[in-house]
C-alpha cells in the first residue's frame, strides 16, 4: 500500500448492517424451510414416490400437479418432497462429519508432538491429491452404491480440505500470547485445544462448513446425475435433474424445479452461515 493516500473511500461512508441482517434472515428461513421439508416432506407428499399418476409426461404446472409431472408421468411435487430428504440429510451429515473430523484432526495436530502432526498432515495431503469425483466413482464401482457409502465418499473427499483450513487457523492461534500464557500456566493439551483455540476459530470453521455443505450437495447431485448416487425409485434432487433432462428443450418444470431447489438450498445455507459468523465475530470484537 502506498502511504500517501491515493485511492480512498469517500468521506461519507455508507454502512449496510441492516442489509446483511435481512439477507441472513432470508438465508435462515430458506434453511429452515428445507430442513422442514427434509423432516416432514414424505408425509406431505400427495403421492407415493414411484407411482405413475398421469398419462402425460413433462406436464406443465396445473392444479392437480403443482410442479408438473416427470418423464414417466409421476408427480414432481411428491418426488421433490421425498428427494429433498436425501439431498439435505446426506449432505448435512457428510458436511458436519467432514468439518468435525477435519477440525478435530487440526486441533490434535497443533497441540500434539511434532511427529504426530507430520503423520496427520501428510496423510491428509495424500487424500487431498485425489480428485473427489474420481474417488467417488472408484468407491461406487468397488463397493456399489448405498447411502452410507455416499456419506463415506463425501467425508473422505472433503475432510482433508477442512483439515487444511482449520490447521492453518489453529497454528496461528496457537502462536498467540493467550495460548502461550495457558501453556506456561501448565494447562493440558485438551484444555488448550478446546477452550483456548477452538472458540476462536469457530467462525471460519462454520463458514467453511457452509461452503462444504454446498460442495457436497453438488457432489451428491453430480453423482446422482451420473446415475451413481441414490438409486431408483428413490431420487435425490440431483437424480431428479438427470432423469428429466429430456424435458430440457420443452422447459419442463420437472427439470427446472429440482435445479432451483439445489440452488436455493446452497445459497440459503451460505447466507445463513455468513450471518451466524458475523454475529459471533461482532461479539468477540472481530470484523
Amino acid at each position: 500500500m502506498n502511504p500517501i493516500i491515493e485511492t480512498s473511500t469517500p468521506a461519507v461512508q455508507v454502512r449496510a448492517p441492516r442489509k446483511i441482517a435481512w439477507l441472513g434472515l432470508v438465508g435462515a428461513s430458506v434453511c429452515f424451510f428445507w430442513l422442514m421439508i427434509a423432516l416432514f416432506g414424505p408425509w406431505l407428499a400427495p403421492h407415493p414416490v414411484g407411482e405413475v399418476v398421469s398419462d402425460n409426461v413433462f406436464e406443465n404446472i396445473s392444479a392437480a400437479f403443482p410442479f408438473g409431472t416427470d418423464y414417466l408421468g409421476r408427480d414432481m411435487l411428491s418426488r421433490v418432497l421425498i428427494g429433498a430428504r436425501f439431498t439435505v440429510g446426506l449432505a448435512l451429515i457428510s458436511a458436519v462429519l467432514a468439518s468435525g473430523i477435519g477440525t478435530m484432526c487440526a486441533l490434535l495436530s497443533v497441540v500434539a508432538p511434532k511427529w504426530l502432526d507430520e503423520i496427520i498432515s501428510r496423510l491428509m495431503d495424500a487424500f487431498i491429491s485425489i480428485p473427489s469425483k474420481m474417488l467417488a466413482l472408484i468407491m461406487v464401482s468397488a463397493f456399489g452404491s448405498s447411502e452410507v457409502l455416499l456419506v463415506c465418499t463425501a467425508v473422505l473427499s472433503y475432510t482433508p480440505g477442512a483439515f487444511r483450513i482449520a490447521r492453518s487457523m489453529a497454528v496461528n492461534i496457537e502462536a498467540l500470547e493467550y495460548v502461550q500464557v495457558a501453556r506456561t500456566r501448565g494447562e493440558d493439551r485438551l484444555y488448550i485445544a478446546c477452550r483456548e483455540i477452538l472458540p476462536n476459530m469457530l467462525n471460519p470453521v462454520l463458514t467453511d462448513l457452509g461452503l462444504r455443505f454446498g460442495f457436497i450437495v453438488l457432489l451428491l447431485s453430480g453423482m446422482s446425475f451420473l446415475g451413481l448416487g441414490v438409486q431408483p425409485p428413490d431420487a435425490d434432487l440431483g437424480s431428479l435433474v438427470r432423469e428429466n433432462i429430456g424435458g430440457l428443450n420443452q422447459g419442463a418444470p420437472a427439470i427446472v424445479i429440482p435445479a432451483l431447489a439445489i440452488g436455493s438450498l446452497t445459497i440459503g445455507v451460505n447466507l445463513f452461515i455468513d450471518r451466524l459468523s458475523s454475529r459471533r465475530s461482532r461479539r468477540s470484537g472481530g470484523h
Binding site: 500500500m1 502506498n2 502511504p3 500517501i4 493516500i5 491515493e6 485511492t7 480512498s8 473511500t9 469517500p10 468521506a11 461519507v12 461512508q13 454502512r15 498467540l176 500470547e177 493467550y178 502461550q180 500464557v181 501453556r183 506456561t184 500456566r185 501448565g186 494447562e187 477452550r195 483456548e196 472458540p199 476462536n200 461479539r283 468477540s284 470484537g285 472481530g286
Partner: protein, 613 residues
C-alpha cells in the same frame, strides 16, 4: 501573516450501534507556512482522526460532520472526492507510523517513492528519480544514489521510515502529516530519524503536522503544540510556553507521565537475602540444532543472572537484543541449548513438560500486548477463574470472592467481571492480564514490555500498580522494557542486553551517572528529554566512529564492535572482551576500563533524570 492551514470548529462523528458518536468535538487551530504543529494526546483523543481530516479523509465508519479545513487555497471538506484525490499525495502528504506495513515488498524503493508524483504528473521519471536521490541525501540515508534500487526488506526500520518521508516530500507538498513516525522505532534509531526529519523540514521550509503521544519527541520537532483529550483541545500554545508552564491539569499529568522515574521509585526494602532464580551460562536460540546441540540462530549467549526474593530486575535493550527470549526461557517456552536454571533451590526444567505444577504456579508471565494475551472469547471472570480453579481448586462463593479480591487488587471495577476483553480499554486489559498472573500467588512475575503498548499516563498507572503490588505481596519481577525511565521507576537492578549478550549489570543508581558501557551510554543518551534543543545539543554521535580494520575470526568478539564509538584497533577486533567492574559498581563486558570510559563520556551532558525544560 500567511495562514497556510486553518481548521475551524472541525467535527467528526462515528457510526456506532447506538447511533452517531462525536469523536472530534469542534477543534480549531491554524498554522503558518514553515511551521510544525504537534497534535498530542492519548489513543482515542482523536489526533489521527484530525490529521486525516486535513487530507479530507475520514476512516471507515466516520464522517466529517462539520467545520472548515482550509489547506492553502483548498477547502478540503467541500471538494468532491476526485479533486481530493488530486491533492492527496501531491499538495498534502502523509507519513504513517509503520513504514514496514506501508511499503509494497515486491517493488523497489525508488519506484515506490516516485510513484505518487508520477501519477500526479509532477515530472518525468528521470527528474523525479534525481529528486528522490537528493531527498535521500538530505535525509542522511547511506548510499543515496543506490539505496533506491533496494527492496523494503533490505533496509532497516529507521531507514525505511526516512524513505517514506522522502516519498511524502517528493511532490513538494504544502503540508506533510507525520503520524507517529518514530513510535515503532528503537530510541537509538529514533534519534537519527528525528534528526533527519528536523533538518529536512527546516531546509525545505515544509509545513508539517506531527502526531505523537510522546511529549519529549514533540518538544524536539514542533513550534506549536495542541494537546487533545477526548476529541477536544485541552490546551494549545507554543512549545516553549507549554513545556514551561502548562496551564491545564491534564497537560501536567502528561508531562509527569512522560518520565515515570521522576515520581516513582522502587521498593528496594522488599528485597530479601534468599535467592529465588539463578540463571547460569544460559545459551538459547531458534532454528535447527547442530551436532553440538547449538541452535542455528543464537539469541542468548552465556547469560548469568540472579534474582533474589522480592527483587525487581529490569532488562533493557533494543529490539533483537534477546530480552524477550530471556523471559521465554524462564517461562519454559523455549528450551535452552546450554546452561541451567535454578528456582528456589530446585533445578528448573527447560521445557514445560519437565516442570511441576508448583513451579508453574510460582512463575507467571505477563505479555506486552493485552489484546493478544487475553482470549477474546472468555470474559474477565472466566479468565481470572481458570488459574484459581487450577491451582487452588476454588469453587462457588470462594471463587467469586477471590475474583473480586483480585479485581480490587489491580483496581478494576467489579462491574467489568462479565465483560469480554474487547469491551475493555487498553489499561483495563493490562490490569486483567496482571490480575490473572497474580491469581496464582506467584513468587516471580515475568513482565515483557507490559507498559509499552499503553498510553504514557495509563502506563505510568500500571507501573505504580506494579510497585504497590510488590510492596504488598513481595513478588519478584523480571521486568523487560526498551525504555530506561520505566525500568528506573520500578527496578532495583538493571541489566543491559545487546545482541544476546549481557553487556552491563548494575544497580539502579549506577545508571544515573557515568561511566557506562558504551552501548548503555548510547541507549541512555538517546532517550529524548523534555526540553527544546535537546536534539541539537545531545552528544550522541552518529556516523563518526573510529576506523577499525576487519575483525579477526575469533568467535567471541564484542558484538557492539560495529557501532562502538570507543573501540580500539588491534584490541576490540582481535580479542574477546572480559567482564570488569567500573566505578558506580556496574559490571560491564568491555575492553575499556572505567577510567577511560569516564573520560570519554564526561564531556557529554549529564543524564538528566526527571528534570524538565
Amino acid at each position: 501573516m500567511s495562514q497556510l492551514i486553518r481548521v475551524q470548529d472541525l467535527r467528526v462523528v462515528a457510526d456506532t450501534d447506538k447511533g452517531e458518536l462525536e469523536i472530534v468535538k469542534g477543534v480549531s487551530f491554524a498554522l503558518e507556512k514553515g511551521e510544525v504543529l504537534a497534535l498530542i494526546g492519548e489513543s482515542g483523543s482523536g489526533k489521527t482522526t484530525i490529521a486525516l481530516a486535513l487530507l479530507g479523509y475520514a476512516r471507515r465508519g466516520c464522517k466529517l460532520a462539520g467545520g472548515v479545513v482550509q489547506v492553502g487555497e483548498h477547502d478540503m471538506l467541500s471538494l468532491p472526492e476526485n479533486q481530493l484525490q488530486g491533492l492527496r499525495g501531491n499538495r498534502v502528504s502523509y507519513v504513517a507510523q509503520s513504514a514496514a506495513a506501508a511499503f509494497n515488498p515486491a517493488k523497489k524503493l525508488i519506484d515506490q517513492v516516485i510513484e505518487g508524483a508520477l501519477i500526479h504528473g509532477l515530472g518525468s521519471r528521470s527528474d523525479l528519480q534525481r529528486k528522490a536521490v537528493d531527498l535521500f541525501r538530505d535525509l542522511a540515508l547511506p548510499n543515496p544514489e543506490t539505496i533506491g534500487q533496494r527492496y523494503p526488506h533490505q533496509v532497516s526500520g529507521g531507514q525505511l521510515q526516512r524513505v517514506m518521508a522522502a516519498m511524502a516530500l517528493i511532490s513538494d507538498p504544502l503540508l506533510v502529516i507525520l503520524d507517529e513516525p518514530t513510535t515503532a522505532l528503537d530510541v537509538t534509531t529514533q534519534i537519527d530519524v528525528l534528526r533527519a526529519f528536523k533538518r529536512v523540514v527546516r531546509d525545505r521550509g515544509a509545513t508539517a503536522v506531527y502526531v505523537s503521544h510522546d511529549l519529549a519527541v514533540v518538544a524536539q520537532m514542533a513550534d506549536q503544540i495542541v494537546v487533545l483529550n477526548g476529541g477536544k483541545i485541552i490546551e494549545q500554545g507554543s512549545t516553549a510556553a507549554l513545556l514551561k508552564g502548562p496551564e491545564d491539569e491534564y497537560t501536567r499529568s502528561l508531562l509527569a507521565a512522560a518520565r515515570p522515574d521522576a515520581k516513582l521509585s522502587p521498593a528496594s526494602d522488599m528485597v530479601k537475602d534468599s535467592t529465588l532464580l539463578t540463571i547460569k551460562g544460559l545459551t538459547a536460540g531458534y532454528g535447527k540444532k547442530n551436532l553440538q546441540g547449538m541452535p542455528m540462530i543464537r539469541v542468548l549467549e552465556d547469560i548469568d543472572l540472579t534474582i533474589r526474593r522480592g527483587q525487581a530486575i529490569g532488562v533493557i535493550g533494543e529490539s533483537g537484543s534477546g530480552k524477550s527470549t530471556l523471559a521465554r526461557v524462564v517461562a519454559g517456552l523455549l528450551d535452552p541449548a546450554q546452561g541451567s536454571l535454578t528456582f528456589d533451590g530446585a533445578p528448573l526444567s527447560g521445557d514445560l513438560a519437565g516442570r511441576t505444577k508448583e513451579q508453574f504456579r510460582r512463575i507467571q508471565m505477563v505479555f506486552q500486548n493485552a489484546d493478544t494475551a487475553l482470549n477474546p472469547m472468555h470474559n474477565v471472570s472466566a479468565i481470572l477463574a481458570r488459574p484459581l480453579k487450577m491451582y487452588f481448586n476454588l469453587k462457588g462463593k470462594a471463587l467469586r470472592d477471590r475474583i473480586h479480591e483480585l479485581m480490587d487488587l489491580v483496581r478494576l471495577p467489579r462491574e467489568l467481571a462479565d465483560r469480554r476483553p474487547n469491551e475493555l480499554s487498553g489499561g483495563q486489559k493490562q490490569r486483567v492480564n496482571l490480575a490473572r498472573a497474580l491469581a496464582a500467588k506467584p513468587d516471580l512475575i515475568l513482565c515483557d514490555e507490559v507498559t509499552s503498548a499503553l498510553d504514557t499516563v495509563v502506563g505510568a498507572c500500571i507501573l505504580e500498580l506494579l510497585g504497590d503490588l510488590r510492596r504488598k505481596l513481595g513478588v519478584s519481577y523480571l521486568f523487560i522494557s526498551h525504555d530506561i525511565s520505566t525500568v528506573r521507576a520500578l527496578c532495583d537492578d538493571i541489566v543491559v542486553m545487546y545482541s544476546g549478550h549481557k553487556v552491563e549489570e548494575g544497580s539502579r543508581d549506577a545508571f544515573s551517572q557515568t561511566p557506562f558501557h558504551p552501548y548503555t551510554d548510547l541507549l541512555v543518551h538517546s532517550v529524548p528529554e523534555l526540553r527544546q534543543g535537546w536534539l541539537e545539543g545531545c552528544g550522541v554521535t552518529s556516523g563518526k566512529l573510529p576506523p577499525i580494520s576487519a575483525p579477526s575470526n575469533t568467535p567471541e568478539l564484542c558484538t557492539f564492535l560495529n557501532r562502538c564509538p570507543v573501540r580500539v584497533e588491534g584490541l576490540c577486533n582481535k580479542t574477546a572482551p572480559g567482564r570488569r567492574v567500573i566505578a558506580g559498581g556496574s559490571e560491564i563486558l568491555c575492553h575499556r576500563d572505567g577510567g577511560e570510559l569516564q573520560e570519554r563520556q564526561s564531556d557529554l551532558d549529564p543524564v538528566t533524570v526527571g528534570v524538565y525544560a
